[in-house]
Symmetry: C2
Subunit: 214 residues, 2 copies
DNA sequence: ACAATAATAAAACGAACGTTCAATTAATTC
DNA sequence: GAATTAATTGAACGTTCGTTTTATTATTGT
């Protein structure tokens, strides 16, 4: 047999991406074989090579699009003309919502970096650094304006990102906590961590924010 | 050729463990071949099987001993008859010191869990859960005693552990920050995160603690 | 209806994988 | 110094890997 009835390039490519994210997240990139992936899609291994020239290029595509999605989500969510506190709130909410919504893709982007060639690794890390730079800028602004009390901006940014991204390790949708509750708790932990001086009114505002988004 | 002059079983086994930790941390478990590992040790691949019956058993041994080491380090460092604040300080300091000191082994234990068989995975996760339970107990005691102000003990424990363990992702010895500085900053971030009500005197005490250990 | 093109199957490639086995040599024991 | 044991080599096993090639069929455009 050859071309099958109803076969469609776009649908197949989308199916490959989705199956690849799930399989790599579950088994790891090296442990997933192209034959396994093809079977999951319902196709022969050779068909995959119509859409991705190599296994590594497939991995790179998944990672690049994940990072692009994260950047675009933040650009859409970032408030303009807002103070450091509000910007930090938006950053935390966007980060957690995005990562909970794409747990598998995040897993892939965080765990499989070492399987990329040096040039592709550099490219992904550049995107990641640019995204993290936004958080550092917020923390710096807040510290200079006196709203935050932070020892080391760079270290605090890394600690916050590790803490927030770590949510995908233990969070399972539909268990004890809702997304809104998780987001609200991470938001309050973040604000205390950076020593934000917020009164009762802003505190309530912050929680409303989280409830609305999640 | 066969047995080489000066060959010694104990030395070879130790060399295998060390090389395996470094190679797996760098390349990943699946990507490291037994031939690669053997070459790093300076031996033929078949020689590895005198010491570890399978590749997975080697991985499991590395992970189990890492977790045992972490548990033992905490048992030795845990203060007796101390309040939640002091116990939390000790927990943070021990965790960071241990993980910075064994960055590669931590990487292996955190990233390669999915390569274990179900029974071995369960065994490692049991050890990990027991270790994390200690932190939850501290947070619960501190909350009940009124010293901490925490929304959700379980969630906060996970967030703290993710934050602290994340230090191995970006920290490189001999760069901008010393181990003592990093530990002190993480300690103050932790205390603020849990809403610890500490005065100027205890705050200074906490920093001395960090300086001494690191 | 027919040509052109897109999508896939089937088979095969050489290389690398984890692992085993028999042979061989160094160290130890008596 | 002979017998025993410990440590390692070199070669081989069957399997699986990513990838390529060629043929075949479905769809699309005219």
């Amino acid at each position: 047999m050859a071309r099958t009835t109803g076969s469609d390039g776009e649908k197949t490519e989308a199916a490959i991406r989705e199956a690849a994210v799930n399989l790599i997240a579950r088994l790891g990139y090296e442990a997933m074989s192209m034959r396994q992936l093809a079977a999951e899609v319902g196709v022969q291994a050779a068909a995959l090579y119509r859409y991705f020239p190599t296994k590594e290029e497939l991995l790179f595509t998944l990672m690049r699009e994940h990072m692009e999605g994260l950047t675009e989500a933040w650009e859409a969510a970032a408030p303009t003309n807002a103070g450091p506190e509000e910007r930090l709130s938006a950053y935390v909410e966007n980060h957690i919502a995005f990562h909970i919504g794409r747990r598998h893709a995040t897993h892939v982007s965080n765990m499989e970096l070492r399987s990329l060639s040096p040039e592709r690794l550099t490219q992904i890390l550049r995107m990641r650094t640019a995204y993290e730079k936004e958080l550092r800028a917020i923390l710096r602004d807040g510290t200079e304006a006196g709203g935050f009390s932070i020892d080391d901006t760079g270290l605090t940014a890394m600690a916050l990102i590790q803490m927030m991204t770590g949510v995908i390790v233990w969070f399972r949708p539909g268990e004890r906590l809702s997304i809104a509750e998780v987001t609200a708790t991470y938001l309050s932990m973040t604000m205390r961590l950076v020593g934000a001086k917020i009164g009762g009114r802003e505190e309530r505002h912050v929680h409303e924010h989280a409830q609305l988004r999640a």
